[in-house]
Symmetry: C2
Subunit: 360 residues, 2 copies
C-alpha cells in the first residue's frame, strides 16, 4: 500500500497526562515517554503508525516548551512541519492552525488529526479505516473515526451513528456527539450498538474544516487563516484566539447540521488514561506476578500482582499486595492500586497546592 | 538513684534485623539505626537506658565489621569495653566472653545482658526491675526479667513462673522456658497468667554464669575463661567455640535444676521485630494518615494508612491503600502491608539467592 495522495496527518502533541504522574510531568509529558517498553515513545509510535498513510506529510503541533524534544524524537521532521504554539489554546486552535497552513499550501488537502499519546492495536485495520475516512472526507463531510466499544466505558465521549452513507461499505452519518456517560448510560450505549467511542480522530478537507469553523466561530477561522498567510503574526495574535475544543467548536454543530460521518474503527484503541489502562496494555508477566514496565531484574515480587515501573534503577520489592501500582522515578515515588489509578491526580494537585514543587 | 555497685551491663550488638529490610542491612543492622525518630540509634538508646544503673560499666560485644560504627556511636566507651567478635558464635559465646573478662577483673561482679536493639517504655519501672534482679542475682541465682504479656504474642518465647522467692517482693522461681507458641497456646498462656515474655535479659554473677556454663558445656566455659586470661588467643580459639544460644546453653537446664528466678517486668517492651511492630511504636499522625518515620513534608498520602519511611529524600505518594508499608531508601524500595510485614524476609532471601546483591 502507498501513502494517500494529498493526505496530511496533524498530530496535536499536548497535555501533561497528570494521571500518569510521576512518569508523566508537565516537563516530560506522556507523548514524549516510552510507556510500552518498545523503545519508541508514544509520539514516535504515532508517527510510525501514520507514515504508511501520509509518507512525509506529517505536521506536529506542540507547545514551544516541547518543540526541541519533539524535533529530537522525530529527526526527519522538517522544521516547517513542527508548529510551536506560544501557549495552549485547546484543540481547535491547534488543529485549525495546521489546517489553515495546509489549506494555503494545497487547497485540496485532506487533513487527519491523531493525538500523539494514544495506542492502536491493529495497524492494518487502522489503515483501512483511515483510507475509507479520507475518501468520505473528499466528498466534503467532516469524518470521525468511531471506535467500536468493547466494554461500557465511562471515561470516553461517544458518537451516536445514524443511517449508512449511500455507496459506502462502513461509513454512517453521525447523529450526535455525547459527553462521557455514567455507568448505566454507558451500559445502555453498549447494548444499543449505535454508539462508538470518540477517539478525537477527525478526517476532513482542510478547507472544509475552516469553512465549518467559519460558520460557528468566524473570528477564530479568520484569525487562523490570517496566521497561515503571515507567520509573523503568531506572537501578537495567538493569545487572542478563542480557546475551544474541536468537538464543541465544529463537530457537535456540524453533526446537528447533518454534515458529519463516522467510519467505525474495529481496531483496539487506548488513550492510556491512567495506570490501570497502562497495565492492561502491557504483556502480562509469564510468572504471574505484577506486570513490569522496565527491567524485570529490578523487581522482587512476593505474592503480588499489579503494575511495577522500576524507573530509578533501584530495586523495587513488593510483598503481599494484589493490584498494586508502584511507580518509581528518580525524584518521586507513587504507590496506589489499579482501582484508585484515576485518583493520582489528587497527588499532583496536592503537590501543586503545597507550592514550589518542581515534581509536577 | 545511683549506679549499682559492681553491676556491669553487657550489650550484645548483633543480628541484621532482616525483617526491617531495606532500612536494616547486614552492613547497617537494626541496632545502628534511629528507628524511632528520636535522634538516637537503638544502640545509643540502650546505652542511655543502662547508664543510670551501671554508670560507665558498660560492655558492648559486636562483630568486627561493626566495631568502628559502635565506637563512633558511643564515643565515651573505653576501647577495653568494646569487644569485637571475629565471627558470630551466638549469644552464649558473646555474653560468656564478656562475663569471663569481668569475672577476671572483679570476682564478685554481677552482669546483666540487654540486647542492643530493643525498646523499653518506662525507664523507672525498668530500673526498679533491674535493681531487684541484681539483688536476687547476688544470692547465686540466674535471674531473668520476664515481661508481663499484654497480648497473645506468637513471636516471643515465654517463661513460666513458679512460686515466689522467700522475702522477695516480686521475684519468682522459673519452672521452664518455652519456645514461641502457636496462637491458641499463646492465648492460653495469656489467660493462665503464669507466663512472661522472654526478652533475653539475664542478670547473674559473672562467676555463677560461667560455673553454670561449666556444668553443661565445660569446653565452652574453659575456652571463654582462657580467652579472658589471654586476649591473644582470640583469633586462634574463637571459631572453635561452641555456637549456642544462652537460653539453650544454661537458662533451660538451670531452670530445670531450680536455679533460675524471674523478676516480672511491667514496663512496655518491644524487640521491633518487623515494620508492623515499628508502626505500633511510633506516634500516630495527627491527621489520620499513615505514620511517618522521617520528614512528613516528603509524604503525600490520599486515603491511606500504615507506615511510610521517606528515607531517600524523594517524595513518596500513596493513594488509596490501608495498612500499607512503604520503605524508601537510596538503593531499594519495599512496598508491603502491616499484615505481611513478617514476610519481608522473603525479599531478602530472594535477593541473596539472585546473588551478587549488595543490598542485603
Amino acid at each position: 500500500m502507498t501513502a494517500i495522495d494529498g493526505f496530511w496527518a496533524v498530530v496535536p502533541a499536548g497535555g501533561a497526562g497528570t494521571r500518569l504522574w510521576p512518569l508523566s510531568r508537565a516537563g516530560a509529558p506522556k507523548f514524549l515517554l516510552d510507556l510500552t517498553g518498545t523503545g519508541r515513545t508514544l509520539l514516535q509510535g504515532t508517527a510510525d503508525r501514520l507514515r504508511p498513510l501520509v509518507g512525509d506529510r506529517l505536521v506536529v503541533v506542540t507547545g514551544t516548551r516541547h518543540a526541541s524534544a519533539v524535533a529530537a524524537q522525530l529527526p526527519g521532521l522538517p522544521t516547517t512541519q513542527l508548529m510551536a504554539e506560544p501557549s495552549p489554546r485547546d484543540s481547535m486552535a491547534a488543529i485549525g492552525w495546521a489546517a489553515a497552513v495546509l489549506e494555503a499550501r494545497d487547497p485540496s488537502a485532506v487533513v487527519g488529526s491523531f493525538a500523539a499519546d494514544h495506542l492502536i492495536g491493529d495497524q492494518v485495520a487502522f489503515e483501512d479505516c483511515v483510507r475509507e475516512a479520507v475518501e468520505v472526507a473528499r466528498t466534503g463531510l467532516l469524518v470521525t473515526i468511531g471506535i467500536e466499544p468493547t466494554y461500557a466505558a465511562t471515561g470516553f465521549g461517544y458518537i451516536r451513528a445514524g443511517s449508512a452513507l449511500p455507496g459506502r461499505p462502513t461509513a454512517r452519518a453521525v447523529e450526535e456527539f455525547v459527553e462521557k456517560p455514567d455507568a448505566s448510560t454507558a451500559a445502555r450505549y453498549l447494548a444499543e450498538g449505535a454508539y462508538r467511542w470518540n477517539a478525537g480522530m477527525f478526517v476532513v478537507r482542510a478547507s472544509v474544516l475552516l469553512d465549518l469553523l467559519h460558520e460557528w466561530h468566524p473570528d477564530l477561522a479568520s484569525g487562523l487563516r490570517a496566521l497561515a498567510a503571515d507567520q509573523a503574526l503568531l506572537e501578537q495574535s495567538w493569545d487572542g484566539l478563542t480557546k475551544i475544543a474541536i468537538d464543541n467548536a465544529i463537530a457537535e454543530p456540524a453533526a446537528a447540521a447533518g454534515r458529519v460521518a463516522v467510519v467505525p474503527g474495529t481496531f483496539a484503541w487506548d488513550d492510556i488514561g491512567d495506570f490501570a489502562s497502562l497495565a492492561g496494555l502491557l504483556p502480562p508477566p509469564a510468572d504471574g506476578g505484577p506486570t513490569v514496565l522496565g527491567d524485570p531484574d529490578l523487581v522482587v515480587a512476593v505474592d503480588s500482582t499489579g503494575l511495577v515501573v522500576p524507573g530509578s534503577g533501584r530495586v523495587v520489592s513488593v510483598v503481599g499486595l494484589d493490584d498494586v501500582v508502584v511507580i518509581d522515578t528518580g525524584d518521586a515515588l507513587l504507590v496506589t492500586t489499579l482501582e484508585r489509578a484515576q485518583d493520582v491526580k489528587a497527588v499532583v494537585d496536592a503537590l501543586k497546592a503545597a507550592g514550589g514543587s518542581d515534581l509536577t
